[in-house]
């Protein structure tokens, strides 16, 4: 199977196929033998470069013949094709694509200079204060709504100047993550 994968600002093409009890992985012209085994809520990952050794060890069937770099992996799957991968406790966001049908970027459009902008709740919480009303003119970074979660109040501000077109919450109301609170045009 062939994947296109994005981490940080880098895209890579990675090809994987089953090989014995493990996997053969091709990435950036390098060939690796990878043992990838589930251990409760995580994965054990052993990576060994097989380039140049004619796969003699790779064909060995004894699991003890697997050696190389070892990693502790945990994976959170957030949405289709998006994972947060923990490598030895380091947190790496990973976006998957298939060649020709890149999935990233389409559903996360940032606020543009024109057109309506929705201010969404960054986390689930409770609206403690609505600071604007429909029709209000707002300047960039002006406070719009105060949302409380875990006893901390967070003021959500206007990403740019504009006019409040819609206020979709009222004070005291609970909100889910990504709920639209205010729309600015």
């Amino acid at each position: 199977m062939r994947f296109e994968v994005e981490t940080g600002r880098r895209r890579r093409t990675i090809e994987v196929r089953r090989s014995g009890g493990g996997w053969t992985v091709a990435m950036d012209g390098r060939l690796m033998s990878v043992d990838f085994t589930r251990v409760n809520d995580r994965w054990s990952m052993l990576v060994r470069s097989v380039e140049g050794d004619q796969g003699s060890n790779a064909q060995a069937s004894e699991p003890s013949s697997v050696h190389g770099s070892s990693y502790d992996i945990a994976i959170e799957s957030q949405r289709q094709g998006r994972h947060i991968v923990h490598v030895d406790g380091h947190v790496v966001p990973v976006t998957m694509g298939v060649p020709g049908r890149w999935r990233s970027g389409s559903d996360d459009d940032g606020p543009g200079a024109t057109g309506p902008v929705s201010i969404v709740a960054p986390m689930p919480g409770r609206v403690v204060k609505v600071l604007v009303a429909p029709g209000d003119a707002v300047v960039a970074r002006q406070g719009l709504v105060v949302v409380e979660a875990m006893k901390m109040e967070n003021e959500l501000r206007a990403p740019r100047a504009g006019t409040v077109a819609d206020v979709r919450v009222r004070e005291g109301a609970p909100v889910d993550a990504n709920a639209v609170l205010v729309v600015i045009t």
């Binding site: 199977m1 994968v5 981490t7 940080g8 809520d41 799957s77 947060i84 380091h90 901390m152």
Partner: protein, 521 residues
């Protein structure tokens, strides 16, 4: 004393239930709707539902907690920290219900719980205090009066909750223009955290260090102070790292702080466990800050360097026992301990709270490491309460060994499903300022400002490669086996029918069960 009701949740409820178990005492947990399956509930012998998710509908409901104690036949109440721990009405209600309150008397709670009265007590005991208002400002006080008081004290000032603690309801105000908004925010936070929105104003001491003395005081007039804890590493007045002994306190400062703490405790008629907090300036001069009339989050640091179980002593003191510790011992540090608080917050997004479900968890272990937590794989971190997930405490023969152990432990610790402050803590621990103990209570905020949002988990390219391969293998495994490959993250929807609604009669049936259990005890 036979059975203790723990009027709290999270890691501290787990901590107290453990102490009950160790002392052969029964334990009763209380819980809000969303905590029905939480760790502390399952650990305790019995559990009682006390209402809805909002603290004001459960963990702050004195009436329901007293009812729960009666229903289960508990004869004592441990309040933990936060919630009702420093509420004199709660301490009184316990006494009126013939329940032993594991903490100071309601009168002492009231005396030191009011930050303004506590300042007067300290001053009368000959302990220096930070300049500030003698009166508190309730909701009925006009903004203009507050502005006048702030002007008199001189900017920058600190707005603090009279009933406060733990940095909640606290705001720094640099100039008069920001005062009104800061007072509103502080009152609102204080009101929801402590049920009292009164605030007072204090001069902001420039670049102070925060040192504090843990005390234990029995009902027979003995007050024992412990080696100081230093808690100068704070983010917006929330302690991040705590350690003992302080890297800067010499024997003379230690004994002066200990004497001052004992004087304050005696003047306040204080009993049980408490902490007297001080600000220490660059010249080694110190000011009384406040008394925390409760068990503190960072108590394990003292437990590790003193070799004493503070919660055991709280229970024994409440039971009328005499302290048998000598201050000669308790003021001599045995090694060094450092605590790191781990929160469900996304440090890379301005420390935004990160509620959700823990899908995978690996906790630190090994030599010198203690992890006081409450979350497990599958735990739902609710939006309604403090975001503390656990505290990692490292003990070493000296500060550098304790630091090395803490670093190793934080590297072992991995929390998936919510963002945690672990990457931030690892970064902070690796800073030269930490190794050299060069900090004051604003130092971390200044450091963070300099970073201007640069991510904490700076990644090695090889780590990114491994992550990319792992993601492919997970998808490929799922495609070839048809099994769910990874841990699906689906946070609970709190607004839209997210209530963990069990059978409608849950509360009644739990209480009935608890009552039955109570008869057995």
């Amino acid at each position: 004393m036979h059975k203790i009701l723990v009027a709290n949740r999270g890691e501290i409820a787990v901590r107290v239930v453990r102490a009950c178990r160790e002392l052969g005492l029964g334990s009763v947990a209380v819980f809000s709707e969303c905590d029905r399956t939480a760790r502390h509930v399952r650990m305790a012998d019995e559990a009682v539902a006390i209402g809805g998710n909002a603290p004001s509908d459960s963990y702050l409901r004195i009436d329901r907690i007293i009812d729960a104690a009666r229903a289960t036949g508990a004869d004592a109440v441990h309040p933990g920290y936060g919630f009702l721990s420093e509420n004199e009405d709660f301490a009184s209600a316990c006494r009126d219900a013939m329940l032993t309150f594991i903490g100071p008397t309601p009168e002492a709670v009231a005396r030191v719980g009011s930050k303004t009265t506590a300042r007067q007590i300290a001053a009368s005991a000959g302990v220096p205090v930070v300049p500030g208002t003698d009166e508190s400002f309730g909701l009925d006080v006009a903004d203009a009066d507050i502005a006048r008081a702030a002007q008199r004290i001189g900017y920058p000032v600190l707005i603090k909750a009279v009933a406060g603690g733990g940095g909640k309801g606290m705001r720094v105000v640099a100039s008069a223009a920001d005062l009104q908004g800061a007072v509103r925010m502080a009152r609102s936070e204080a009101g929801s955290a402590f049920g009292d929105s009164s605030v007072y104003i204090e001069r902001c001491v420039e670049r102070p260090r925060h040192l504090e003395i843990q005390i234990l005081a029995d009902h027979h007039g003995t007050v024992v102070p412990f080696v100081e804890r230093e808690c100068s590493i704070q983010r917006r007045h929330q302690k991040v790292f705590e350690e003992s002994p302080s890297p800067v306190a010499d024997a003379r400062l230690r004994s002066r702080l200990a004497d001052a703490a004992v004087a304050v405790a005696k003047a306040a008629g204080y009993t049980n466990a408490g902490t007297v907090e001080f600000l220490v300036d660059a010249e080694g001069g110190f000011y009384f800050l406040e008394v925390n009339a409760r068990l503190q989050v960072e108590h394990p640091v003292t437990e590790m360097v003193a070799g004493v179980d503070i919660v055991h002593w709280q229970i024994r003191i409440a039971n009328g026992e005499r302290l048998t510790l000598s201050s000669l011992d308790t003021l001599t540090p045995k090694g060094h301990a450092i605590e790191c608080r781990v929160y469900a917050e996304d440090a890379d997004a301005g420390f935004l709270p990160s509620p959700g479900r823990i899908v995978a968890l690996r906790t630190p272990e090994g030599p010198g490491i203690r992890n006081d937590g409450w979350v497990e794989q599958g735990s739902e971190i609710p939006i309604f309460y403090d975001s503390l997930l656990s505290k990692v405490i490292a003990w070493g023969e000296n500060r550098s060994q304790a630091t090395a152990r803490l670093r190793r432990a934080l590297d072992e610790y991995d929390i998936s499903g919510v963002r945690s402050t672990l990457p931030f803590s690892r970064w902070l621990l690796a800073r030269p300022e930490f190794a050299e103990a060069r900090f004051h209570t604003n130092a971390l905020d200044e450091l963070l400002q300099q970073r201007a949002g640069e991510p904490f988990g700076g990644l090695d390219p090889s780590i990114e490669e491994v992550a990319a391969i792992a993601a492919c293998l997970v998808e490929a495994s799922a495609a070839t086996t048809g099994l769910p490959a990874s841990n699906e993250v689906r946070g609970r929807q709190w607004a839209s029918g997210g209530n963990l609604s069990a059978a409608p009669s849950t509360e009644r049936s739990w209480k009935a069960l608890a009552r039955k259990e109570g008869l057995r005890g």
